[in-house]
Symmetry: D2
Subunit: 343 residues, 4 copies
Amino acid sequence: MKVAIYHNNHDVRVEEQPIPKPKEGEILVNTKACGVCVADTMEWYLSPRAPLSLGHEPTGVISSIGPNVENFKEGDRVFVHHHVPCLICEYCRKGNFTMCKTFRSTHIHPGGFSEYFIASKMHVERDTLKLPDHVSFEAGTLIEPLACIIHAIKKAKVQPGDSVVLIGAGTMGLLFIECLKYWGVRDLIVYEIMDWRKKNALEFGAQHVLMPDKEPEVEAKRLGEILKSNGADKVFIAAKDIGAMNLGMQLATKGGTITFFATPAPSESIDLYPSHIFFNEITITSTYSADHNDTRMALDMIANGGVSASKIISHRFRLDQLSDAILQTQSRDESLKCIIRFE
Amino acid sequence: MKVAIYHNNHDVRVEEQPIPKPKEGEILVNTKACGVCVADTMEWYLSPRAPLSLGHEPTGVISSIGPNVENFKEGDRVFVHHHVPCLICEYCRKGNFTMCKTFRSTHIHPGGFSEYFIASKMHVERDTLKLPDHVSFEAGTLIEPLACIIHAIKKAKVQPGDSVVLIGAGTMGLLFIECLKYWGVRDLIVYEIMDWRKKNALEFGAQHVLMPDKEPEVEAKRLGEILKSNGADKVFIAAKDIGAMNLGMQLATKGGTITFFATPAPSESIDLYPSHIFFNEITITSTYSADHNDTRMALDMIANGGVSASKIISHRFRLDQLSDAILQTQSRDESLKCIIRFE
Amino acid sequence: MKVAIYHNNHDVRVEEQPIPKPKEGEILVNTKACGVCVADTMEWYLSPRAPLSLGHEPTGVISSIGPNVENFKEGDRVFVHHHVPCLICEYCRKGNFTMCKTFRSTHIHPGGFSEYFIASKMHVERDTLKLPDHVSFEAGTLIEPLACIIHAIKKAKVQPGDSVVLIGAGTMGLLFIECLKYWGVRDLIVYEIMDWRKKNALEFGAQHVLMPDKEPEVEAKRLGEILKSNGADKVFIAAKDIGAMNLGMQLATKGGTITFFATPAPSESIDLYPSHIFFNEITITSTYSADHNDTRMALDMIANGGVSASKIISHRFRLDQLSDAILQTQSRDESLKCIIRFE
Amino acid sequence: MKVAIYHNNHDVRVEEQPIPKPKEGEILVNTKACGVCVADTMEWYLSPRAPLSLGHEPTGVISSIGPNVENFKEGDRVFVHHHVPCLICEYCRKGNFTMCKTFRSTHIHPGGFSEYFIASKMHVERDTLKLPDHVSFEAGTLIEPLACIIHAIKKAKVQPGDSVVLIGAGTMGLLFIECLKYWGVRDLIVYEIMDWRKKNALEFGAQHVLMPDKEPEVEAKRLGEILKSNGADKVFIAAKDIGAMNLGMQLATKGGTITFFATPAPSESIDLYPSHIFFNEITITSTYSADHNDTRMALDMIANGGVSASKIISHRFRLDQLSDAILQTQSRDESLKCIIRFE
């Protein structure tokens, strides 16, 4: 089988490897499509550990099953989540599944950028989902990214009727817009600096799409006038630059919640003024990855038409073009989701 | 009547003023006791606005009532909360009562450091509480500070079984210990640097009372060993120095919550590393003052013996000794709560 | 001014009364439209207390204001909620506003079926809402009924992704369908016995609209097959006959919640088998009326297009035709919402 | 090894069986103590399925471990929960673990009334808890019953400050009292008809212990006077007779919650008046068994001294006296918890 091996963003080599055999409880999946994530483009993070097999947004058809697999059979069309929790550690028992050690150390082998991959017994039992007939393999690649957004919305306790600010209208931002509408949010203000993305945000249904003022305080004042309040109930920062974070810190109303959905490098920091959050009872929270409840709801939303995959997926590549797909994703040039298709 | 007028911590003058008459819906209270709060000692904040009448932890006897007061009568023993919310603005409707404009602008007149004070119609309707016979005027002065702690514990969503870190074991810290035990918390680690306070914390029931290491990361490691986890489920920072805040930021477990219970000056800041809170799904929140639900629960706890006023109130002063009471509170010298008693 | 006086469903007389003058804090509203509620047709309940002025779903224009009205002025287009809570009693403090004594005893005078009515100071402060320009007086009459549905959905803690059963697809049922979709519900099964109502339910977006089997147990089995589970996460009984209630009791999944949205006469009862709810951890709850938070969200939904008033309001009558409107509502003949229009 | 085989309450025979060997992931436990549950006395339920090995409140020492057991070793002192959930089905994902099919079908073999028993791989991974040194085997037998109470208190969403009614002050009732105090409840009214149990309830800290009036409505009135309200925020019915249930249905305040903690036979029913629960927004809920989170908190409470095992365990028997222990439990004669001790 063909497997893409990542060395750096410009150097991804397709190698031939033997097709693995599924063991006890395992399944072998013949990959049909796999999304390219922004995390697949973070060279500084990936290159030092290269060579690597990437790809964590895969769908495919079960090619064969190991002994004692009960709920799946050859030919099933599936999505497999690459991370699965132990379900029983202290984090899992408190519902913080993405903090679980098992969650962070589980993977599919060799990855979604491969003609075949193995899903372990734990993957099969806990987060392998059958795709309904009318959900395409392409649409299924959105389950994982969408689940991350659902995770954030649930963590921030979004309620119908909340006013919401979203910073960043890239692919994830657009999925956020669709998701927030699904949650009953109607007062939605999006901040974005790139014109083509602003246009997208409007098309996806944001009421207001704004270029932020350079001064967060000035922008906060403008927002207050739009919302006729001191700010938004919920602020999602779906951008990873410090400027977006400093902006977001000023846009929550008294008693509001700011959620960090992305992260800059570990060395980067912002100034937190305790008196500001104290007198305004601000809550700052954060959200990492997605759990097996989120993926199920993501599939549900896609199946029910709550998310329009055809509008989100803009570019399709072959496996031997993975480097091109990575560079396209990294370019932020007029593209939304790039996926790899397998014939 | 005698009223204490604050100029600065060393200069508080008792003046004679006419006893006011309660109007429509108002009550006149003959003050019996009033606690001295740390906020009453913040000279940099108070002096520029002086002369001032302070005192927001008062109890007393209703001396006379205005027309159309329904639920109270002369002779009733009461606590009056100095701030009351409008109950209908957007903040109040979302339960963020202490963010309400009315809440922040309401006061008793002239204040609790006065032989008599007027509670307005709104105060009478919304947050004037009758003291049960067995709750002394002294014990009643703890309702307001205790309510602030209850507010914090509720905001942080403390659950029985949570592991909790508390930074600071002053008077408020000790009330925190009693309150957390009332909430079912048993794994309680207190950080404190002063010896006599550490002793108090142990006596009040904290399992572990520690001197923090200078390096928050080192302390985090030690805490992890004690709790056999990555940190505490809930961290309360009941100290207002930046060092305590930097310490607190490192002590929450993955998925945990850090609550700022006090604030440094507005210009002071700490470094917030988004990647740290992102990968650990940390929540940072804050809590300001207390609402009318909190005061009711505070009285309930005092009446039921959940808080031992006699152990918390260490010094009693006459009204003409208010400056001494302020200086004693400020000194952090072996004193807990100082109150003013009226004969 | 003309006021409709109810004697019985067939006997409603329009009388001439003097236009009242608003006192301190009050407003006088010139009624423009008022919905007819099923409660306005319950002769057994109303006749013994007749003559009565009814009408609790009114909108209009402020005709004059009393002294010290701050947030409203002559000419404002408004909805007035007939019941308002005290906001401070034990029920209100726990958020159970519709259980408040004040809530149950407050009314507008003489009522919404009158050319003019007075809203008291409490009504003005707590639950009088300005209609945005693009919300018609007709659409505004839906605020109160819609708020009742929002109240139920919040009480039942509906989450996006829940499977929901709704029993009854009358006017309230259709509003339920729109509301549940707003809340992110996609798995929605409606039970209804009348053909024209079933057609409506489908048009409003229910996936399944079913005629229930006579045997609740048989129906429960069929539902389980549709939902591939033991029943629905949430069951709403929006019908007031005992049969609907007995049906609803069987349709919740293990751990599910059944909500009574309507009531039969006080003497009617159903058999509750403790062992059934015990072994299945069923929750039964109920919901009465709507509070000031619900009306605000209802207006928000109407203003944002979440509810289509034009599809819900099917019949319009003049004030002197109120008896006709009541009889039409009572008939369950192909009508949805009937309203009274004032020129 | 000796195993007690149940035929009926008067006929329990100790048989000799070979000691089983633990397989992959399993442990063999040498039983030290096992509590007798009221369910072990329900002859009508047990006899038809006899012969049976019972005992689901066991503690013991690990005698040997199978291959690949990671977190336990020979000699560990443990409690094993007899039911464990799959953790991944729809019920588990919603947190309704006790509704899970796997939960209901899992058991220890042959049972806790046996000198040795096998805990399966799932039991070992999910709900086998090490006893701290200072928790005796006797005290550990209370983990399971206490966990059931914790399950109920969490399901009913008890908050500190709630007023609570408890019907029934048997062994479970007394554990309820201790647990409710741990949860911060101080307003606690207990209904009980047997004198020696009433005395116990008072000793365990209930404020009021009452003999209920024969007429639930009369009792409701008396309760209202005690609580100065319309009833209790939370009502727990920890008795399995219909009379207790009819009583409990009347004792909740408007907006309150009634929890069925025990069940009568499946054929028994009470009359539910929808109008009563509708106008009072009553919630009725129920609680079955306990999950792996509850057992952990139960152990935590026992280890921290929140529950006094020595006051709860009143009688100790040898394995060959199991019939006596069952009859003693059934008699309701002045006994609390009966346990079987193994030497």
